[in-house]
Amino acid sequence: MSAAVLEPTGRVNVVSNTLTIARRNLLHIKANPEQLVEMSIQPLMFLVLFVYVFGGAIAGSSREYLQFALPGILIQGLAFTPFTTAIGLNVDFQRGLIDRFRSLPIARSAVIGGRIAADGVRIVWSVLIMTGFGVLLGFRFGGGAAGALGAFALAVAFGLTMCWPMAFIGITARATESVNTWGFMIILPLTFASSAFADPASMPGWLQAFVNVNPVTHVIDATRGLMLGGPVADPLLRAVIWLALIQGVFAPLAIAQYRRRV
């Protein structure tokens, strides 16, 4: 078999390299089963707590609040999923694994690509489990099958897009703790100061100003519109523009930083 191994003319296969790295990242779930709890139980807990603790106060009844809050909590949860990209890349740099990958004749993009592909699987999983559980609790899609599918697609696109700024943070930060600090500093206000949990009209003017330009608000409004059957066109357009912008800025930044970091 030795002759078959590594002919110097062997071509680099980007797709295969990326899938191999993605598989490796997903295998980490097997080593750390808590990740499964984090991916599955935590968002459900969040949903139950928000709906039944605040639902009555905010919307008059928890049933009505579930309809309003599910799309928001879904997107809010997806904003946190890419933390695994950030922390994973950071740890790989610190452990010297990136050196190993970089010394191999593989596609340069495969390491970040494999990370994001693995997070894509987590994102799809989160979307399914969250909406599935929501339906069990009594959530009803008002926008029909097309609306539901559109909402899924937008939610997944949002999660994948958020991987890029998180990848940038993960590659740039020297220590894993600072990944957490910076990640939360950015993601927490973006998700809470949005239309996720309450109607922005009830907020003070200065906060409304922020909420209305917050890209997360537009993604949530569009998802909500698709899921419930409300107005969609305007928030969807804004959401798509924002996602393209975020990706357009942070994907090149993350890749440049990946190349630069020693």
Partner: protein, 325 residues
């Protein structure tokens, strides 16, 4: 024999530090080439340049005939890299680690699995194949790391301080494996702070300090270059160590004077007659010696002669710093 690695005038600076300050070296094929120096001398930077992980600021280097800056992807097909910090995935099993690398190198799923099994066998890791690397001992991890760099059967193997932190038995095992690889036709570039290791394994050595080559040659040449003989004396009573040192200093060649490891006093001498004289002088002073002998200089003495300090002195503090981080 043709050269596997050639470097000319390599310079790499980090801020104001010149990590490499004009390194030249040539490593011949199917030999062990030792890159020797204390921590911070530039060894790891040199390896990183030669493995395409860093671009040199100046100078050029080629590996297997390919320029490291112009054809990095060619170079990467030829080399296997084992870093100072065992770069294996802790959250995968040993087998999954090797399988992953096989797949990344373009092996089919079946071949990658077979190669993983074969290497686990060769490195005595079959029993731990399915265990997470997190649970491996230091020696097992190092063996897996070496196995990982061999998946693609590289013609050139870079070993960056492969035995740092290993117990003596694991170190000997690793030495055996390195010798076997060279016998199989590989070329090994080895960095180490252990002079004994370079002496044992390397066909040729380059000693670097502060990013500059300060000596080069075969271990024998380096020892001859320092020249002369080493006279060593061990007083029976450790209290006589200082008195012994004073007497031995009379025979010192050059400016190094005597040095001691706490038990034994050593001095480089030019003239064999010093042995007889030393016997008389020590006897007159009433010092009983446990051991008094003449030998060829070790690489330690070479290092002392060319750098003005012993290799391990500076290493001690660096090692503590590393274990802390």
């Amino acid at each position: 024999m043709s050269s596997a690695i050639e470097a000319e005038g390599l310079v790499k600076t980090f801020g104001s530090v010149r990590a490499l300050d004009g390194i030249d070296m040539v490593a011949r094929e199917e030999t062990v080439f030792g890159l020797l120096g204390p921590n911070g001398a530039g060894k790891t930077t040199a390896i990183r340049v030669l493995s395409t992980l860093l671009r040199p600021d100046e100078g050029r280097a080629s590996v297997g005939g390919y320029d490291v800056v112009r054809h990095p992807e060619r170079v990467r097909r030829l080399i296997g890299l084992t870093g100072q910090y065992a770069a294996v995935d802790e959250l995968l099993s040993g087998k999954e680690n090797l399988y992953m690398i096989g797949r990344l190198l373009g092996l089919s799923s079946r071949l990658a699995r077979a190669r993983a099994v074969e290497l686990l066998e060769a490195f005595d890791l079959s029993d731990a194949a399915a265990k997470l690397v997190k649970a491996y001992s230091g020696g097992m991890r190092r063996r897996l790391d070496l196995a990982a760099s061999l998946v693609g059967r590289p013609r050139l193997l870079y070993l960056d301080e492969p035995t740092t932190g290993l117990d003596p038995r694991s170190r000997l095992e690793l030495w055996g494996m390195i010798r076997a690889l060279v016998a199989d036709g590989a070329t090994v570039l080895l960095t180490t702070q252990y002079l004994e290791e370079a002496d044992q394994l390397a066909d040729e050595i380059v000693v670097i300090d502060h990013g500059k080559v300060i000596a080069a040659g075969t271990p024998a040449q380096l020892k001859t270059r320092v020249g002369g003989q080493v006279l060593q004396a061990q007083p029976a009573d450790p209290a006589d160590l200082e008195a012994t040192q004073r007497i031995m200093a009379e025979f010192a060649e050059g400016e190094d004077g005597t040095y001691t490891d706490g038990q034994m006093v050593m001095v480089r001498i030019a003239d064999r007659s010093a042995l007889g004289q030393a016997v008389r002088r020590l006897d007159e002073a009433g010092i009983v010696v446990e051991d008094l002998s003449l030998r060829r200089p070790s690489l330690d003495e070479v290092f002392l002669a060319v750098t003005g300090h012993l290799a391990e002195e500076r290493t001690q503090t660096d090692e503590t710093e590393r274990s802390r981080s």
